[in-house]
């Protein structure tokens, strides 16, 4: 199936269920040009992941046992939210590293929640066991066609809002968001994948010639710390020549602080990772190149009003 068509179909499906998030143009951040920003961190449950969750559930059928998901926090919150809105039971597995503010966010949806020792991969194993035992349907966080197509609606929406950029910078964890963007854009704009040095599954896969395991750590690990890049993302990144750049934790927290201090946008480290590539010089645009940055997550810890 053609990705562009699949994403267009997802966009029709999720309309009215997800928010059309705002866009803005802004200077600042010590950059030599204005940038376009999409405030996708204002989406339901604070990340783009509601798009993939709704697309999957609305594409049904959903079994009697409901939904299961493994998550560093954000995907679980999105699945729990979408399941609740659509009237399905949900059981979410998160690793301890998800942290109290993301765990509280999931709890507020009313979903059943299991906190697992370790990192994302451990939660994924527990979720797989539960899936087999219960007959619940698993929504994969990033490497399933319905998930990627749902996340792709973010870029489709941005273009419908009049995006003028030559280049779009997107943070990468497991690759659902950038996979959807690549699938939608089909090479029509340059896409730059930004990963933390300490959680760089796509970068490692591109170097190795295929998805491979990486160790994950760092300030954005609970959102971007996939141990292995999704196959869908990897194939799309290869096909459309996504450029891959890395940023360190200092660059990420510097960008996070700047987004709050200069623009009053409070995002989590993963949400600031794409901007960090510009601010740190990890990605240096050409003179005249029009650049856009996707802000993808707002679930900071500690919760400022928690």
């Amino acid at each position: 199936m053609d990705w562009k068509e699949r994403i267009a179909e997802a966009a029709r499906r999720v309309e009215g269920h997800v928010l059309r998030t705002p866009v803005m143009r802004t200077g600042g951040f010590g950059l030599d040009r204005e940038i376009d920003v999409k405030l996708e961190q204002l989406q339901h449950t604070g990340t783009f992941k509601a798009r993939g969750a709704f697309n999957t559930l609305l594409g049904g059928p959903v079994p009697q046992a409901g939904i299961v998901a493994a998550s560093g926090g954000n995907h679980g919150a999105a699945v729990a939210f979408a399941a609740h809105r659509l009237g399905y039971p949900a059981h979410i597995f998160v690793p301890q590293m998800a942290g109290p503010s993301k765990i509280a966010l999931i709890e507020r949806t009313g979903a059943r929640l299991t906190v697992v020792e370790g990192e994302y991969a451990n939660a994924a194993e527990a979720a797989a066991d539960y899936e087999e035992a219960s007959g619940a349907m698993q929504i994969h966080a990033y490497d399933a066609p319905a998930t990627v197509a749902g996340q792709g609606t973010c870029m489709a929406e941005w273009e419908a809002q009049g995006l003028e950029a030559d280049t779009v910078l997107i943070a990468v964890g497991g690759g659902g968001l950038i996979g959807g963007a690549l699938g939608w854009l089909q090479g029509r704009r340059k896409v730059v994948a930004v990963e933390p040095v300490t959680s760089c599954a796509l970068h490692a896969a591109l170097a190795a010639g295929g998805p491979c395991d990486v160790t994950v750590s760092g300030v954005a690990a609970n959102a971007l710390g996939a141990r292995r890049i999704g196959r869908i993302c990897y194939d799309l990144a290869r096909r459309h020549n996504a450029q891959s750049v890395l940023v360190n934790d200092t660059a990420i927290t510097t960008a996070q602080t700047a987004l709050w201090q200069e623009r009053r946008l409070l995002v989590e480290p993963a949400g600031a990772t794409a901007l960090a590539a510009l601010m740190s010089g990890a990605y240096r645009p050409e003179p005249g190149e029009r650049v856009a940055v996707l802000l993808c997550g707002a679930n900071v810890a500690p919760d400022p009003l928690g």
Copy 2:
């Protein structure tokens, strides 16, 4: 001079100096309808007040001694920011109640800063003394034509962005923002003025038949705690029949929490005050009435990344 023309002129003047802040439509907050929201808290220095500051300074001339302003924090930050951008020296007087996060915001601009014991009115006295002694130009926080016209560009911009609302809710302190909105709209939409019970200078003035002193306190006092409503705002509110409603501190902090938890918009209490009128039922729209809420300030304390 005609307010609409004055605001249109201000809009041409401040273009490129202030941000075109984004708008969005969202459900939630326990309301029975979607609302339109303007994210003016993303403006330079976290409030709409940069508009009035730039309009005043760009309308110059500015004396050699530079600029002076008294402020509960937000106006001072905006004036300091605009002065710095345009190359003028600025001296800002704030009361202690401005709080550390607003004081730090002003310090970051590089302006000279004096912290005065007491409330806004005390800072205003100190600023007036300095104005007389130094020959610096004072930019009034709300009751000057150039300030009101600058703030009015916010509503002009919102209409240019396709605002469809019948009714706009706006928080009121000294009345600069709502004065500008009333001057621009000229009765074409219903305007609801929302004030804290404990800082209600407009409400008291409308009841008394003219501006009168009120005591100020409460969670939004450093932003909305004007002791007396501006004459410009009062006259415009009377002429265009602004409806006045009051909300208590619990309603304000409930709305502030909901904006963060449901929509990842972090605003200060003053920034949540307009929404509080809807959530608390202080303002009850008619069936089918299309309602818009202006978010006006993001300078929360404590600073989440301070």
